[in-house]
Symmetry: D2
Subunit: 200 residues, 4 copies
Amino acid sequence: MKILITGFDPFGGEKINPAIEAVKKLPDEIDGNQIIKLEVPTIFYQSAKVVREAIEKERPDIVINVGQAGGRAAITPERIAINFQAGSTPDNSGKGPKEGKIEADGADGYFTQLPIKKMVTAMRKAGIPAEISNSAGTYVCNHLFYEVQYMRRHEFPNLKAGFIHIPFLPDQVKNGRRPSMNLSDMVAGLTVSIKAAVAD
Amino acid sequence: MKILITGFDPFGGEKINPAIEAVKKLPDEIDGNQIIKLEVPTIFYQSAKVVREAIEKERPDIVINVGQAGGRAAITPERIAINFQAGSTPDNSGKGPKEGKIEADGADGYFTQLPIKKMVTAMRKAGIPAEISNSAGTYVCNHLFYEVQYMRRHEFPNLKAGFIHIPFLPDQVKNGRRPSMNLSDMVAGLTVSIKAAVAD
Amino acid sequence: MKILITGFDPFGGEKINPAIEAVKKLPDEIDGNQIIKLEVPTIFYQSAKVVREAIEKERPDIVINVGQAGGRAAITPERIAINFQAGSTPDNSGKGPKEGKIEADGADGYFTQLPIKKMVTAMRKAGIPAEISNSAGTYVCNHLFYEVQYMRRHEFPNLKAGFIHIPFLPDQVKNGRRPSMNLSDMVAGLTVSIKAAVAD
Amino acid sequence: MKILITGFDPFGGEKINPAIEAVKKLPDEIDGNQIIKLEVPTIFYQSAKVVREAIEKERPDIVINVGQAGGRAAITPERIAINFQAGSTPDNSGKGPKEGKIEADGADGYFTQLPIKKMVTAMRKAGIPAEISNSAGTYVCNHLFYEVQYMRRHEFPNLKAGFIHIPFLPDQVKNGRRPSMNLSDMVAGLTVSIKAAVAD
């Protein structure tokens, strides 16, 4: 199989984004499956455009978008993408999202096609804190997750797609007021998640 | 210098205690200073007895007790030991503490002699979440911290002593509902803390 | 207008459920609109059956289901109901949910028809902590929310429906380790929410 | 008996301080004991000066200082005042504290003379979330608590003194990201705490 895995670039004043850091450290092959890594801009619609181009070029079997969920203490595969965007923080284009639906004719929500429960089980077995999340929020992460599901519905029906949120890196929360996770644990968690997804 | 560093054994139904795990992984020498590692039982008074014997035998310059503070997201050197014990959980002897003063004639509180602010700064510089804590609680951790301070006051006036709390290991909180820290980060944090303490 | 507002009965070992306590304290009329109050059992499918009967009998314009979200510190109107149920705690029939879809042919998610942003604004203006929630979980609360949306889609297209989560009452968390909200604040919050909904 | 109870004025950009709001709402007499209410400035040393003047003038049997602990979900009587001040936020004089000891010749810590366990029990019995706190922090609250203990030790040996931290008011945390408590619950909690203190 061919797996396209993406990570966002740094945003919101952070110098690094654990998402792209962890994605970059993945091997190029997992259990004989090809891993294609892609950095995407933390920008509404633009991020989806970049992923679409990669899907058209690479024709992956699975797409996994990875993003940071600051404040969470576990790796959290997302269950559902929702057709709504909001948020007061500007994205990396300098503008915040126009509050409202992402796609005028899209469904209210789309479930992921990834085996999120098996992924969580595999991560916990590997000693990595993990839990299914029922909300990817309303910012760029959910936006990209939704857009890929929308594309899948209309253009790439055989694609399996999903989103994984990862915590802050220790270096991002030096005062320890919020939880963090070591980069090597993130990479290990993503690796066993990918194995669970391809085995499904 | 000679540094005695202790870690508690597992308690409360846990199979491992990050405290002794991290202590065991420290090198035997840091910046030319001898590191003496000691496992102590999670038992009121008994833990203090074991540390006293090691102090008498080894005559260390510095004593650092390490314990787990489940739920914290950072390594937290403690500022003050208080003359009070309480808690409904039985210790490893099967009994809980008798609620009240630890030492009838002891001071209400004793400040640590360790340079906790410098230790926190050194850990953060090394990318490890760290913060000073103003309370070691009222269970075995504070008890041992207090007892060593009480000994110091009455018998070992040249000793510098203190307590460092560390988070859960990832493996202890697999559902990620509480924060954790990688063992290698704990070891790195304790190492730079020891360096800061000996340099003080 | 006619508003049907429901609250769950106590479950999970609790003696009271703030949901039904707060609902019972609402006035019978708000801004000239009739308020019909209904206690529903904390049981999968059974709760939906009871609400369906009330909808058929009363033909309300608006249905608002109220449930407890222990651990939240604000009143949180929910944005989306999802077609998924899970949970290891037995409901009040003594059985947990069969993990999986709630309705085999239902959409993955349904957005509420309530003006949740206006409701939150109204509550905050009244001094009540409030925030939109993007997940009602996967237990009985989301189940009932989803089932009412599913009914609406197939049978009652003119109905506006939604779900509001409320915190623990102070009496439920006497050690203060989790947030709570005073009953009078809950009643005030629900009242202004209803006003916002009928004005929409 | 005569009870002097103090509350801080608003600080840190807040328009109100729940401490003085709750204190002002206390009755002038509780169980036949006189309640003297005093607003104190949120300023290092100046707050202690104001309290000293009131002690000298009123000669109370009990002094209770009340302050806000934003983020806590319970009323928390404090166990110990520590001889240390720090903090980067300026107090109401526009300056932050000089980091270090509060009193050069003071003890490291002083336990309260109030029956904090009985106070917590009484509050919980009244349905108010309550818990003993082992740290009043290192800002103006702990400072005033410590200074009153220091005065007591050196000048007013018969005084019983202590500190009670209270949560945010609902109006201060409208987005509900942090816990709050209704003003009437705060007043009820302080009232039963005073009863427990005078009965001790």
